[in-house]
Symmetry: D2
Subunit: 448 residues, 4 copies
């Protein structure tokens, strides 16, 4: 009954103010969680939830691990109830019996997370809690069960329908901008002047997704440069003086940096939505822009170059056209020779300048043929091609920062978001792993 | 992999605009749902979701029933997968195996609802869809399984942490105010002037909960009158001229109307939070207010009066003090006689005036002793006592509208929200069904 | 010195709260004004200003007149100072001497109004004060001097640069919408449903100017219907069902009602800005709209029809082309005959229907030839033609309300706002009184 | 007539977009101003105003001077009209005749400024224009007449009733915060981190006045520290770690920096309002704060110390009590000796530390007895005492920055804003120049 399940909002707050729980304040987090879930837990749930979340933040690493292990071990289900529910379902697999089984086998962690989420600010704290949890997964794989529960709930809470797209500019609050500086993961923002040069000029735009329960906290953001031509290097964007293209008509929008902000929302993907919605926003504002491209790093190229692998760790299925091409590539002595040659060269700007053609050829091969399962090895390629983008241009000597040289010998690529073909590209990629690329790139193929 | 699970936002929208789906537009809702869920369903999910929701609204009653029956029959789980997951769990009830079972036994309806909720405006449409569903439950009880899935998801989406309290006043948009007029369920609002008299004067307040995904749609609202004394009739509030108490110091806040706005959110309870948070808001704004009471109807009194039941359909457990009192009440010949006498009288304002004492005595008995299970029979009493309020005053001749006379012979009651004792009241009520009432009411007890 | 001229904000407020001025509260408004202006008046100016404004509102008509007469007689200038300043200027007409004279001859009322305007909400009260003042001007023409001072200050305060254009729709606050209902002066809004039908449908728009110091108070607003064709009657707009044109492409925007909201701002003109800015807003939102017209009454036609005047009370200057045409019109026996015939007919809907051609001919003559000075006699014509609009269409049987028949025998007209020619039209009108009209209307000329 | 005086908003903009004025663009600013004011100037006023303002910003110093000289010489009044108006007034000094004279003698510059202010963004540009003008006043004193006209209009436009108080915090837009950094005039803000430490911690507050027509442009702002005790040095505030007093109850609010932001609004005073309104805001938010003080520099002390003056440049009038005391002070040999001694010492931190008592005595004397006319010599003292504050504490070794040592030998003072006595203090100060100081300070008097 509804009236039996409520949480006492104010009474709890009042007690808390009065130090009613002052004794209880010293309770362990386990005790607090127990109180939150206990049969009498209905009372003062909101204040107890707040206490649990506050207490969690005071724990040291050891204690946090214990907390998660407690969740893993003691917040599962009642095996007897599960068995009874399954037997009823097994006898009569009705939808009602399925519902009963589904409820019986729902880990108690779900209810705990929902109860915690009743208190103001809880969503923010729970996202932080999962960020902590992720740190333990490698060494304590059994905690994956706990993480799975976070993922299931977050997927529900952070559904596309609940997100809000906002423009980030010089009129945005410092509280948000400060986080943009902090969260930028691709091309670091040095200071507030650098930030301003990315969001304030007429030829720069920045967009972010927000969730109503995470005030001032962007989930993901993308930085865009509006240009005439497709730029050939990141320096052309980051160092370009604002205003160079002003007065000019913009013809190209370049997504040059996409950063996830919340480690605790890993694998709760927003990036695909973000880019496509931003494309639409920009089309409305600038009808003259016809080309939407990224300027993306090729983070896995360097490692692949130095690896002994032939080029892919698995062939696409069957003897499709695509499959045949890959096989050839794999067998190509010319490719292996080209890899070895480039791998032997010093990782310097000069090399990047002089050997542009070789680098572009190998990057082309790497992005189109090097595979993990049926999909490209490169994570950025997987992301954009999976979104339905196609490979558009490959630039050598495009990012000569230390990181750029080490990761990709200075190469960067454009992925093209063409709304007319994005649907088909996605399907061909998702089903067959096919990589769409522009005709111009064909000349880069390595002949055996 | 994340890139395999995305929804094509723009590409879908673009196609839709171009009439790409113009042929598909004629697909049945079943086909559309299939496409949304199908293995290739990852593509253009957002636009398909929108199509499903639009199509649903065009269906007639018959077709909607078929749609829900389709959900009930064909969106359950794979029994083989469920059995395999259960057997693994039965052998080793690890948290990971439980997670696998939980996922395997999750009705496919959950995923359907989540996918539908990706498109803008979907939450609003899904709440409407459930409102439709509720209409079929009586005649098609098997659809309860579908409703349970709605409830589980809505409970997650509409958690307390996602709600926003807003003040409703004359500065609120007409789009919201129009809904306040429409949704008022207790004391109908006649027109915009009547509305203004409830939200604009300095001695009136109105608060509502909103959810970010339901723009301009209040979930629940409460109307409050700020007064000197506790009022003894609803007319004193609804007809009182604004300003009567202005200049005076407010000492009492009266919650005289609480209305749920969304039939599709039935049983997703917000009322308990709302009242308590409003108490807190008012305490901050008006430190002089010390008494927070409702002015509530007694909707079940009339029916109980005419019933043959002795007074309760079940005794509280054991021989507690409370239990003994109830037993006495039940056995009381005096009570039965009093019920019969009042039941025989005409249901008129004059009667309500003349027999005030008898009415108050019987209402007191009804609220404190008449039970359904261990809790009071009266639904409004259950709600407020369950929140931790106590029974404070009983007024005869307080609501002489036709409805008021028929439901409660003109009686109304105050429930008191005293933050200092709300916690204890709730616990005593939740655990033992104990009804806390003020000392003054004791004199109303019927002596046998 | 600046530090000598300040107003004690808080100290005054505090005293006021403490009833420090409780004795002084009984001072007459003259005393209060004296205190505000007096040499010690620098102290607590803000609170005294508030007292003056509050006291004024309590005055009865007689007392208000006395207040204004006091302003007229005792808040002028020091004649000795004026003489000295003039003599200095007369001897040496330097800019500094002019400044001194300008200050010396500035009526003390200016300083009084500025001091009054320092207190929160003062602008609103001063606009109301002038509205009261206007009521006395006819019987007390000497108060015109006071009114001139209000006009000079309001012209400065309500300059175009300080106004804000806002869209009025169903998302606007009830506090503003209530005023739209109240202030609509052309086609009365019956109730909130009627209001909604004018601002909520996709083919309706409403825009208003606001001033930051007049919260929730529109200064002027215009109602717009978006249509396919230019409508031929007001009923087609007011009774048309919303949605009739929806889906259709809008080609025409019709300004069918413009209302000034603040009687106290009479002659502080905003209407010309409003229409032109709205034209621009609509062009951006609806590129398909090419025609911007009013649907306007002809308020002076009825009176002119019944008058003995030949057709104009003054000829345009000189023997311009325009002048000659007017002269002919004036001398035309045919015109006089046509006037007499129509004037003799009953003022009924049937007549309006049957005699459409005669009515349209005479309205055309009235609007193009009947003059007051060099400008048209009709005030609405003066307004729109002065803005640079041209006369576009004349409709008979277009407003068959009692008012419409009496004022204009049911006729209404469209004035066209064509941004390409508005500048030239205005200049020709302002300089020579020339009325631009569309070629189609030529056929309506009365031949003598 | 109103319809003759309008400005063509859109038509002008449209022409401008079409390059209609492309020839005219090369017109000199004099031509543009002439067009704006000319008899046909009514047309396209808004666009011409924008052109004048844009053109002005392109002028070099020489050209700007010419522009202002043009304003000074050619935008005065018609001497014939002035004479006629004066003669009429002289014969009959009626309020109407005064009005006519006032209008006739109003410098044409007023109308020019009002016309310029019709275009969007004009107020901002005009404030900037006056800032430029101020730079020429010293060398071209005749331009004072132009400045007087700016002051008269700005006083009207920036009246207290049009200003808006806003809180500045970490949620404020970067566009505003950037200006706070730039405009801070007392204790420079080094960078964004320094800014954050002044506006974000719970024991810091910042408030600013804004005008609706100057978007994102603060007019004046004050920085406040909330503390337990009255701080004895500026370092205690600027270097104190946020949080030191958190948890503690605030008892004191310290206004440690007030900065005017707009040079173009010099002498349009807002500071007195600001402090008092902020006192009120803080009293509501923190009832525990009972003491409101500044922590102020003593900028004129160093110069006075080195001057030959006896102590004041003028005695207060008459033989008032105050007057006698000053006279004594003036004649005091002890004072002169003390001044000479301190003036001879090196201006170092060590000196400031060792000679604290002498410094405090002399600062006390300087603030209470050194006069310019009847008011204190020190400008900061004049400002706060003129506001009704009193001298509360004098701290030696309180600002040991180079500037602090040079200006005031390291001394700072607290002025107390006590709402109960602010009114009386102000009056005693304004009328008699009396400086109110706390009893504790009496001990600092120099005995002769």
């Amino acid at each position: 009954m509804a009236f039996e399940k409520f949480q006492d909002f104010l009474s709890g707050l009042v007690k808390r103010q009065r130090g009613f729980f002052s004794g209880a304040e010293k309770d362990s987090i386990e005790k607090l969680v127990e109180r939150l879930m206990g049969s009498e837990g209905e009372v003062s749930g909101i204040v107890t939830a707040r206490q649990v979340l506050d207490r969690f933040q005071e724990l040291d690493d050891e204690q946090k691990l214990l907390f998660f292990q407690n969740l893993e071990q003691n917040f599962n289900a009642n095996p007897v109830m599960v068995r009874l529910a399954f037997e009823a379902y097994d006898k009569d697999p009705s939808s009602l019996n399925l519902g009963t089984l589904s409820k019986a086998s729902e880990p108690l962690r779900h209810e705990l997370l929902r109860r915690l989420n009743q208190t103001p600010g809880a969503t923010h704290d729970l996202v932080g809690m999962r960020a902590d949890l992720l740190g333990y997964l490698k060494t304590h794989p059994e905690l994956l069960a706990v993480d799975n529960d976070f993922v299931r709930l977050f997927t529900s809470w952070f559904g596309r329908g609940f997100l809000e797209l906002r423009t980030i500019n010089w009129g945005t609050s410092a509280a948000v901008l400060e986080r943009i500086i902090r969260y930028e993961a691709v091309h670091a923002i040095k200071d507030w002047d650098d930030l301003r040069s990315r969001i304030d000029p007429p030829n720069r735009r920045c967009f972010a997704f927000f969730h109503p329960a995470l005030v001032d906290e962007p989930l993901i953001f993308v930085e865009v440069a509006l240009t005439g031509e497709v730029p050939e290097s990141i320096a052309a964007i980051l160092e370009e003086q604002a205003g160079d293209f002003i007065g000019d008509e913009f013809r190209t929008a370049v997504f040059y940096s996409i950063s996830n902000c919340q480690p605790g929302l890993r694998n709760i993907s927003f990036g695909n939505f973000l880019i496509k919605q931003v494309v639409q926003e920009l089309q409305v504002e600038f009808p003259s822009i016809k080309t939407f491209v990224t300027l993306s790093p090729v983070p896995g190229f360097g490692r692949w170059l130095l690896s002994e692998e032939e080029g892919t760790d698995a062939a696409p299925a069957g003897d499709t056209e695509e499959g045949k091409k890959h096989k050839e590539a794999r067998q190509s002595a010319a490719l292996l020779e080209a890899k070895r040659r480039l791998a032997a060269l010093p990782v310097t700007e000069e090399m990047a300048k002089e050997h542009g053609d070789e680098i572009r050829s190998l990057v082309f091969h790497y992005l189109t043929a090097a595979r993990k399962g049926k999909y490209p090895l490169d994570p950025v390629a997987r992301f954009h091609l999976g979104n339905g983008a196609s490979l558009y241009r490959i630039h050598a000597h495009a990012d000569i920062s230390k990181k750029g040289l080490s990761q990709a010998r200075g190469a960067m690529v454009n992925y093209l978001y063409d709304l007319g073909s994005i649907e088909m590209n996605h399907e061909a990629f998702a089903n067959e792993g096919r990589v769409k690329y522009s005709d111009k790139l064909k000349a880069l193929a390595i002949k055996g």
